[in-house]
Every structure is written in C-alpha cells, then in structure tokens.
Symmetry: C2
Subunit: 342 residues, 2 copies
C-alpha cells in the first residue's frame, strides 16, 4: 500500500522552508507573510496535499469528532434524527462517527469503547432495547467526555437527556379519543422496561383515569415495537372475539401490523376498528385510511441534543446537566377522527 500522501515536509522541502512555516501558512496563521502563504497554498494544492487528520488530532489533543450510537438506521425515526445531526455537525465543523448497535447491548458497549478509543469530543446515544448494564456510561463520564442521551434513556441520574414527552403525547392522543366518544380503548404497549414503553403507557393510564374511563386489562398487551407484534396482538384479541373500538399503539410499526391483520380478517379501519399510534412517518400518509399519530419532532431532538453536547464540549466547567422534554403534537389524518361505532 504505497502511501502516496503528501506531507508538510514534502512541501517544505520543495520550497526550502520549514514544516512549521508550511503548517502555519496552510492554516492561515498571521505569522506568515501573505506572499509566502500564497506560494505555499498553491504548491500544496498542486501537490494534492491533504492534512493527516490523525496526526493533527493527536497533536491537538482533540478530534473534532462526535460519536453517535443508535439502535437502528433503516427506521424512519432514527434515520431522520441521524440526518439532522449530520447536518448540524457539518455546519459546526464536526465529523460524526455513527455506530449502530442493532439493538444489541454487547455491540453497543463495544462501539462506545471504540468511540472512546477514537477520542471523540462527545457522544450522543440512544440505548438499545436490551441495555440494562450502565457501567460503560460511567466510564464515559469518568473520562469527562460530554454525553447526551436521546429518546431511549437509561435510569441513571445526573445525565443529559433529550426525550420526547412520551407521557404527555400519549395523554393527548387518548384524551382526544375519549372526547370523540371512545370508551373501549386498547393499548399495544411494547415493553414496559424501555422508557418509551413505560411512559407511553403511563400517559394512556393518566388519560383514562383522568376522564374516568376504566382500563380493560385484556386490551393492554405487551410484547414488542415492530409490525410483527402489532399483527400478533391484534390477532390474539380477534381470535378471542374481544376487540376494543380503538387501539393505541406504542409505535407506528405496531400500527402497521394492525393494518395488516385487519385487512387479513376483513375488518375495516376506522369503521370496525380504529387506530392511532405514537410516532410519525411519511408512510402514514400513504395508508388507507391515513394513520393519525402523535408526532415526534425528530429535528428538534437532533437540534437540542447537539446544542447541549456542543455547549458541554465548549465549556465543560460551567456546564450543568440538562434534561429536555420535547413537546409533541397530535397529527390527525384519517383515523381516530370520529366515533362511529354501532
């Protein structure tokens, strides 16, 4: 692997100056005369010089890199957040090192170690479904690496978090449904161990209690966050001939599973069974009927988390940890807009 890379000293030799002069000139340091700077820059261009990131960072003791750990990529929610974070990083002259845990706790840990090895200036993480050992995050903190958790948040104190107001969002959805006239409301709830599962369930509970509507435990099912689970949960209730009028799902893929199952057994949404979900995605506009949901403002999550991280990186001393809850909006489309049960 012939390393054809041009180095500072290659340039320096050709010009009979020192590497320092070249280094400074290339970075536009005022020490160097305009004339020299110009000559150096031109030659560097001509020779195809590109600074060695590693060397530069090693010497400068910072990397201009931010680590990002997410459970999934090919998923609308995370995809959008990632994209926004990349945008912000780009504007602030940071590189993002994105790693994907694939919902695997061990892999997550390894990735974080790698990020530490890379000496990233900060880390943003959304933990995997499996994660229950938080030791690695302690390690990160001991190293004084700014750390922000987004969306999926571990149960530790004194950390930076940016999350959606899951509880409030679920409350909004259910309150809306109750006002419409719904009483028989089910909830496909994911896992209660994961904070989104728990919080969304609590919001559901809040609303039911608040409006004096009893919760039927048969209609509250736990299991997962994907299509498959939505499909199965629906089928289970269907087979028991015990379907509520409305199902509130913990994520939109779960709702997709419900759509699928309903179509299979020839039940019409929203007439026979109505649906509303937590989480927005473009897809929902293309369903029939279009799916109503609680919107998670991904861009705001990205903005806030980067804002906090960057601030923490810039002034680590006067920084106090922050916990941000992003408000949600109800997006009403073709479901959960009428109470039209016989």
């Amino acid at each position: 692997m012939a390393d054809k890379s041009v180095t500072l000293s290659d340039i320096a030799k050709r010009l009979n100056v020192s590497t320092v002069t070249v280094s400074k000139a290339l970075r536009g340091h005022p020490d160097i005369s305009i004339q020299t700077t110009k000559v150096i820059k031109e030659l560097a261009d001509e020779m195809g010089y590109s600074p060695n990131f590693m060397a530069r960072n090693l010497s400068a003791r910072k990397s201009q890199m931010i680590g990002l750990v997410v459970p999934k990529i090919a998923h609308f929610f995370f995809g959008s957040i990632i994209e926004s974070i990349y945008d912000i990083a780009f504007k602030n002259n940071y590189e993002i090192i994105l790693t994907v845990s694939q919902e695997n706790a061990e892999r997550e840990k390894k990735h974080i170690q790698t990020l530490l090895s890379m000496r990233v200036d900060g880390i943003i993480v959304s933990i995997s479904q499996e994660t229950n050992d938080y030791e690695i995050f302690d390690t990160v903190r001991k190293r004084d690496i700014p750390l922000v958790f987004i969306d999926r948040i571990p149960q530790i104190s004194n950390i930076n978090t940016v999350s959606v107001d899951d509880r409030g969002g679920a409350y909004k959805a259910i309150s809306h449904a109750i006002k419409l006239g719904y009483r028989n409301i089910g909830h496909f709830a994911g896992y209660p161990e994961i904070n989104i599962g728990k919080q969304r369930y609590l919001g559901f509970e809040d609303a039911m209690n608040h409006h004096g509507v009893p919760i039927n435990p048969d209609w509250v099912l736990h299991g997962g966050f994907g299509e498959k689970y939505g499909y199965e949960a629906f089928m289970q209730l269907y087979k028991n001939n015990n379907l509520p009028d409305l199902i509130f799902t913990v994520t939109y893929p779960v709702a997709l599973g419900v759509y699928m199952a309903a179509r299979e057994v020839n039940l019409s949404i929203p007439d026979d069974i109505d649906v509303i979900c937590f989480g927005n995605a473009k897809v929902q506009n293309f369903l029939s009927p279009q799916l109503s949901c609680v919107d998670q403002p991904t861009e705001q999550i990205a903005n806030k988390s980067m804002e906090i991280l960057l601030q923490n990186i810039k002034s680590p001393d006067e920084f106090e940890h922050r916990n941000i809850q992003i408000d949600t909006d109800l997006i009403l489309r073709g479901t959960c807009i009428n109470f039209n049960k016989k």
Copy 2:
C-alpha cells in the same frame, strides 16, 4: 478539558517496565512472558486503559476505517445498504465513517476530502444526483485508495462498481405487464442523466420494442425521484385527460406520489389506473392495494461491495477492477397482476 486518558506509559511507570513491553503485552505479542502479560493486562483494565486510535493508526499507517458516502440516510434503500455494510465491517474489524451528501455535489466532494484526510483504507460511494464533476474520484485513485461505487455510478472507466441490473429489472416488469395484456403503459422516469434513470428507461424501452408495443411519448415523463414528482406527473396527465392504463415508476416514492394523486382524484388502483415500480420497501406491503415492484437486493449490494473493497485493500497489487450487476426479482403483490381495463 482534562484528558483523563490512561496511556501506555502510565501503565509502564506503575509497573516499572517500558512502554514497549506494555504495548506488546496488550496486543498479546509472544515476545512477552505469560506472567508479565497477565499482570499488565489486569492493570490496564483496572486503570481503564483504552488505546488511542489516532496514535495507533498514525504509527501503523493505516486506519482500519472505511469511508462511506451516500446521498441520503432516511430512505429505505440506502438505510438498508448502510445497515448491512455496518454489519460486515463490524465482523471484519473495520470502522465505518459514514458521510451524507444530501444530494449535494459540493458536500460530497468535501466529505471525500475529509475521508482522505482521515486516511481511510477504502471508500464506498453512491454519488449524488447532482454530481457531474468526477475529478475528486481521480484524486482518490491517484492516492491508491480502493474505491467502489454502488448503485449510482459515474461515467468513468476502470472503476469498481456494484449496481443493480436496472435495465434487466425494468425489462422484467414491463414484459410481465405486456404479457398480462397491457399496451398503454406510461413511465415516470426520473432524470435520464442519472444512470438509474437512464437504465430503467432503457429496460422499459427494450421491453416495449421487443414486444412490439409502441411507446407513447406523452406518457414518458421526466422530473425526479420523489413523491412530489410522482404526484405532479400523475396530475399533469390526469388534467390532460390522458392517463395510460399502467404506470411504471422509476422509484417507489414516485409510486407513492401516484397513489396519493389517484386517491385525491378518486381513481382506484389498480382498476382505474395500475402501478408498478422499481425498488422495494416495507411500506409497499401496507398500501392498499399492496404495491408490486422490482426488488433491489440491498444485502447483496452491501455484500458484494464490501467483498470487493476488502479484497482490494488486502491485495492491492494483483487486484483488477470489477463491475458487478446484481440480478433483480419481480415481487408481485396487489398491483399489476391482472389486466382488467374496460
């Protein structure tokens, strides 16, 4: 920013040995006695040592990093490919540096320069819609950095490419439709400048010609690859009262736009207007009717491109560039399965 990082020499001092010994021990070098190795490893663990990637790579002159440049992330096709590439990289002990051009040529160029600066061992890129200046790729090649293009491929020779057999796939879809009985077939074709646009159009043309079905130029529209364009193209034909029986769209988002427009003007798919598209995504199963398509095997694209890249990295000398075309399959769901026009 107190850098709390433990270094080799920190460990060395505590043990009264040299850094070299520690370095070797930590890497399991046979030079060092088992006993010493054990002691060193234990202390390293205890002190929370994590090797400095930059220093290691600087010294080793390679990075164990692979650069990846894609136009988009929050898009099923790229999301899937990225995810697969991450998996393969992980298994092979490489880190992926993912960059996103956002379909912007300038940004793409910048990203590639950054990757060069990072001294990645190889680069995989899918070019942006705008890219027409290929100079930067020449730079990469001059530096002897292995380079593989996937899906969106520039018009240069002697490069590694992994692409879907777009032309053959389009041919399959249209042939199938013609066999069903369709004659009035339209094509929403994206941009012909981009190779996927061009190749898919050619496949369409091949099939029409081959089966002796005339192409109606009014029904072949160019413009884009997204929902918006599908919507607009459909509306244009609709307003002119000049709709074909079947529309073949260059991507699935374009088909989504068609679904949207059709619903808006109360035309039923597939009875009033039938649709088939290039490109698969989970969404399609949740549409009514479920959308048929030409499948692009993302996992195979990821596998092949990584295989080629890794091989090129490992034995740069006996390596000859390769051009892989991945075969497609027709996935028939609820559209384009009957010719049921009045």
